[in-house]
């Protein structure tokens, strides 16, 4: 699975990059608009990561099987990276177009909160002793966090600051010729999540195997 997804990712990266370079320049924003092809996939990737964490957490609490906890952890580690990239690429684009590094817009604020949730989740895991307890606590926090996201979004929608973030997810809102590169880069982002999560799970399996061998206990 690792090599397969890696191969797919490599192909998609090459294709997307070519398409992005070929894509027409935006009439108003110029070349900086091309950050879109990085920023949006990263955002989607971070949501995908969080979805995996929430899914793994729920399944772990239901079935109590370690592999679901590993999925939750992999989702969080991959997700936090993409979330960081989103929060970095966003302000770069924002400064280039709106002239400001940051505004308290709903989507930005929710992404920032997601980032804090990720961090809290990962820190909780580091500071809890005992792997079963860690898995349990992290799973509960993962689920609580996923409840907080819609509540946060609703709250900030109602009371938050200006809605400056482009809200255009409808067809045709992108310029001519940008649809395909956009779609490809989003898909690339999701495949990247898939590849990285699989790689992380593989790594975790190897780690457990070598620990078990060193510890001398039979692998269950």
């Amino acid at each position: 699975m690792l090599r397969g997804s890696g191969a797919v990712l490599a192909v998609m990266l090459v294709t997307s990059s070519w398409l992005v370079i070929q894509a027409p320049l935006d009439a108003m924003q110029g070349v900086i608009q091309k950050i879109l092809y990085v920023h949006v996939p990263c955002a989607f990737a971070s949501y995908a990561g969080f979805f995996l964490t929430a899914l793994g957490s729920g399944l772990y609490l239901w079935k109590r099987e370690d592999r679901y906890d590993r999925l939750a952890l992999a989702g969080a580690e991959v997700g936090v990276v993409f979330c960081t990239l989103t929060l970095v690429s966003g302000p770069i684009w924002a400064k280039g177009t709106w002239g400001q590094w940051w505004v308290w817009d709903p989507r930005l604020t929710v992404t920032l909160l997601l980032w804090f949730l990720y961090l809290a989740y990962l820190l909780l895991r580091s500071f809890t002793e005992g792997s079963e307890r860690t898995a349990r606590f992290a799973a509960v926090y993962g689920l609580m966090g996923s409840l907080a996201i819609p509540l946060n979004y609703y709250a900030i929608e109602l009371f938050g600051g200006s809605a400056m973030h482009p809200d255009n997810l409808e067809r045709g809102s992108l310029g001519q010729g940008m649809g395909l590169p956009f779609l490809m880069s989003v898909l690339t982002g999701l495949v990247a999540v898939w590849y990285l999560v699989v790689a992380r799970l593989d790594l975790e399996n190897l780690r457990l195997q070598s620990a078990a061998r060193l510890g001398g206990y039979p692998r269950t």
């Binding site: 609490l61 909160l113 804090f116 949730l117 961090l119 809290a120 820190l123 909780l124 500071f127 809890t128 002793e129 307890r133 349990r136 606590f137 799973a139 509960v140 926090y141 689920l143 609580m144 966090g145 409840l147 907080a148 509540l151 946060n152 609703y154 709250a155 900030i156 109602l158 009371f159 938050g160």
Partner: protein, 221 residues
């Protein structure tokens, strides 16, 4: 249900004997109020009055963090937590007992803080006191529910004092936003937006139900 009541009274009795939590929370809030007052130029102006609701809720959250941590650390002595876990009842009731005790203890500190705030920032609190109390209660219910729940987690990890604010603040954000908006509107003499109240009620209900149902996972080993 009676188990929750037993824990409620037990926590209040322990707090009454030592009074350490409520005094610490009160001192902390008052210090926060003083710091805010000094750092805002010109005393009670229209500008500072507009900021007052946000500052008040910051003071409330900080003092809650202070007091909620202690809620479960007192159960660590002599492994009293296992004593609670042994009780033949749905473990969610244990959480509810502690949440209600924390609400009362926090409420005492909050009431005094509100009075001092009103004095320092020259706010007209008295005419809207019942509505104000209602909003604070709704906000604090969510604060105490999630705070007590995460305190049970934090107390079983390393660096528990750091862990609680870390876990709590991202989850608490929507509640705080709604509470501050509602308080703002109330103190400015405007109509409190109903969406704020709705959001408070929905958040409180969601967090209460989920915490009640998941508390078993926190006490299980």
């Amino acid at each position: 249900m009676r188990v929750a009541a037993a824990i409620f009274w037990k926590d209040l009795l322990i707090e009454w004997r030592s009074r350490d939590r409520v005094v610490a929370m009160l001192l902390f809030s008052l210090l926060t109020v003083m710091v805010f007052h000094f750092s805002l130029p010109g005393g009670a102006t229209a500008k500072t009055q507009a900021m007052a609701p946000g500052l008040l809720w910051i003071a409330y959250v900080f003092s809650a963090l202070f007091g909620l941590g202690r809620s479960f650390s007192l159960e660590l002595e002599n492994d009293a937590l296992s004593g609670l876990a042994l009780a033949p009842t749905d473990r969610g009731w244990i959480l509810l007992g502690k949440v209600s005790a924390n609400l009362v203890i926090l409420g005492v500190a909050q009431a005094v803080t509100a009075l001092v705030f009103a004095l320092v920032f020259d706010l007209t609190l008295l005419p809207v006191a019942p509505a104000f109390a209602g909003i604070v209660l709704l906000g604090s219910l969510g604060l105490c529910t999630v705070g007590t729940f995460f305190s049970a987690i934090a107390v079983q990890t390393r660096f528990r004092e750091v862990m609680l604010p870390l876990l709590l603040l991202p989850v608490l954000w929507p509640l705080l936003l709604a509470a501050v908006r509602a308080t703002s509107a109330l103190l400015a003499g405007e109509e409190v937006p109903s969406e704020a109240i709705q959001l408070l009620i929905v958040s409180d209900a969601t967090y209460l139900i989920v915490s009640f149902l998941s508390f078993d996972f926190i006490l299980d080993d």
